[in-house]
Symmetry: C2
């Protein structure tokens, strides 16, 4: 235990030291390091696959589920795609040094609110070894040192991947310690890392609710949580019904296992008879299981669509599967109340031609992203023009929604005077 | 204990409900409520003084220190000044609804990053009853419901003050529950409040290190910490020595008990012989106790200035008193290292005519506010043109430095389309 503690602290200490240099590094050096990392991933593909094979073998022995095994598995294509992701980050503008606001005060002092890296960012994740490189690349671009803590099931893969990234970065002029990996994926290391508030500025968890709960119980370092996405599409009384159908089909079925997929469809009672029969048939034909309230059930039955009765729990569930809860409401206000009560503050959509409803929804719904006549599926750093993201925040502190390179920065006020003193 | 828990939860629940309405309130209604609060404070001054007298009596009986008794005490002038502070907040621009960024994506979607209130903000504070009104007014202006938790020593004062504010606000059209007070100032109530992560969006502690440590141990609600201010002034090799002397005198002596006062003076070895004798005499004449390193001691002795030897601890201490640690460094780089090691990330100043040193200091010092040729004493929402502040953040998440009405907002992305779906 003593050794483990020292080792986490040591990784964090080295990251803290590196962060001082990193924060002042020019863009060209950082981009050269990203290129070097991408090149090294390709050049050392065999090494990565070998380490990955050891993780996969251990996973098979310990009986990991097929889904987890799939997340864990790398092949040459996946490695090439990780390298491509790293190269894509080169094209992003460097967020460091951006003057976010600036003004001259009446006394002549110049105040500039300037973007600067956080310093040391810890990323805590499960299974997927690609996060090792994604997180390292985003942190490097934003001038942060990164401390990675993956899961034990991917220990060999993560060690090789982070080693390759650290080697390549160092050779390109990035200080030692800028990309650190915490050995061991246990809860002890998690607690050690989460209490390094003198050395670590911020933790991003990328994983399930268990990981978040574990962090919340122990963390003294600030954490940006990404709650699950229980997202809604609300079809208003006078929605364009073709748009509405396209949007709910897209939001539910374009990809089901993602946090910005819709889990509940709410329909205004006045639109329901015209909208629901066709929409429910289309959803059923797309393989979606429908869990509906009593009024929807009547319409569905008349339309010949089989449904299940929605339970109280269904309205609060992120299915992450081809399942959709469907309910009828009597007003936009009722939809807003339902969403604020059951939603997770991720992505919420209204389909309407009524400007009043649109404004009420925009103002009334408490979520990171509110959509008017568009699918919830656009919540994504790439789609928003922000580039790759390290995660999607559903908490309100610092940044909501996609966390890209700009969101990996804090700011400082730089105040310049001519010998100004306060009177 | 069960009753206490329920009561904290109930206050938070009512605040959460009120927050939904508050978030959409127009500026005129919020400003009218602020006027009503200011008027009511004046009209009900006797009531406030009566409650305050009970707290003062209890304080005397329990042997509160003179300093604490002074913080606790209200009189008609102090109440008038609290009312003035409330009126000053009316003049601030309403931060809610500001479009912080906006763009049209290549696919035609319009994305607007829009400022919105957090929702429910809890303010946890000690002694000073004026915080009750300051916090309520800032939260009201920024569209947030507030949950106040003062100390038990000010229980009567806080109850009357928050009651007056809540009554006046309600009569002016602010929803019930928007200004809530947690009864009881014990650690149990603190823990109850700090774990209301379903209802409370954010906690600001205003108090000493003990309060912060207590919060850090239990909080699951995000907290914006304000660490102490161990602030430095660094006099570079070719500083304008008159400016430097004015700045250190101002930063140290203009007000000693505040977090943006200087606690350590660092002087470049090349400037020390010309600068320190006069500067140390001026500081001594202003009543400042000097705790110095060996090289400074020699210069001080030659100049006939008495000094104490600085201990290791002195470099890490926020004296909040007429005490200054003084040391000599051999380069701007050494000063930056010293500040990053010993500073608390609050306010740090360099006095220099050398652009290279200025740039190195600006980039290298990790603090909320970095000053070039100006006193650290300007770190203040009012001085920065941001209006009144609820505190000064030394953590990096969300906002550093003064927390005013804009910093009491988060944002949401509002995305408008014409039936856009993701392909």
């Amino acid at each position: 235990m003593a050794t483990v503690t020292q080792s986490v602290t040591e990784v964090c200490l080295r990251a803290r030291e590196a962060s001082r240099t990193l924060a002042a590094l020019d863009t060209a050096t950082k981009n050269a390091a990203l290129t070097a990392i991408a090149d090294a991933l390709i050049a050392r593909t065999d090494e990565i696959l070998e380490a990955n094979a050891r993780d996969l073998e251990a996973g098979r022995e310990s009986g990991l589920s097929d889904a987890l095994m799939d997340r864990l598995a790398l092949d040459a294509d996946r490695i090439a795609s990780i390298a491509d992701g790293t190269r894509a980050i080169i094209a992003l503008p460097d967020p460091v040094g951006e003057v976010l606001e600036g003004r001259r005060l009446p006394n002549g002092l110049d105040v500039r609110k300037t973007a600067v890296p956080f310093g040391v960012v810890a990323v805590v994740y499960e299974a997927r070894p690609n996060v090792t490189i994604d997180a390292a690349a985003l942190c490097l671009k934003s001038g942060n040192a990164v401390v990675l803590r993956g899961s034990s099931s991917a220990a060999h893969s993560n060690a090789v991947l982070s080693g390759i990234a650290a080697d390549a970065a160092r050779a390109a002029g990035i200080p030692d310690g800028a990309i650190g990996l915490v050995a061991g994926g246990g809860r002890e290391e998690l607690a050690d890392l989460a209490t390094q508030d003198q050395l670590v500025d911020l933790i991003f968890p990328r994983g399930g609710e268990g990981l978040k709960a574990a962090l919340q119980a122990v963390a003294t370092v600030p954490v940006i949580y990404a709650a699950s996405g229980n997202c809604h599409v609300f079809v208003d009384a006078d929605a364009d019904l073709e748009q509405a159908r396209a949007i709910i089909l897209n939001a539910k079925t374009q990809r089901t296992g993602v946090c910005n997929a819709a889990e509940t469809l709410l329909v205004h009672a006045e639109a329901a008879p015209a909208f629901l029969p066709d929409a429910l048939r289309a959803l059923r034909d797309a393989g979606v299981e429908l869990r509906v309230d009593a009024r929807t059930k009547t319409l569905a039955a008349a339309a010949g669509v089989d449904t299940l009765d929605a339970t109280d729990e269904d309205w609060d569930t992120e299915f992450l599967a081809s399942i959709l809860a469907v309910g009828i409401v009597d007003s936009a206000g009722e939809a807003i109340l339902h969403i604020n009560e059951h939603g997770s503050g991720h992505s919420e959509a209204i389909v309407t031609r009524d400007t009043e409803s649109a404004r009420a929804f925009e103002r009334g719904v408490d979520a990171a992203c509110v959509y008017i006549n568009a699918s919830t599926r656009f919540t994504d750093g790439g789609e928003f023009g922000m580039g790759a993201e390290i995660g999607n925040s559903t908490q309100k502190l610092h940044a909501r929604g996609p966390i890209g390179v700009r969101e990996l920065c804090t700011f400082k006020y730089v105040v310049s005077g001519d010998g100004h003193v306060r009177s």
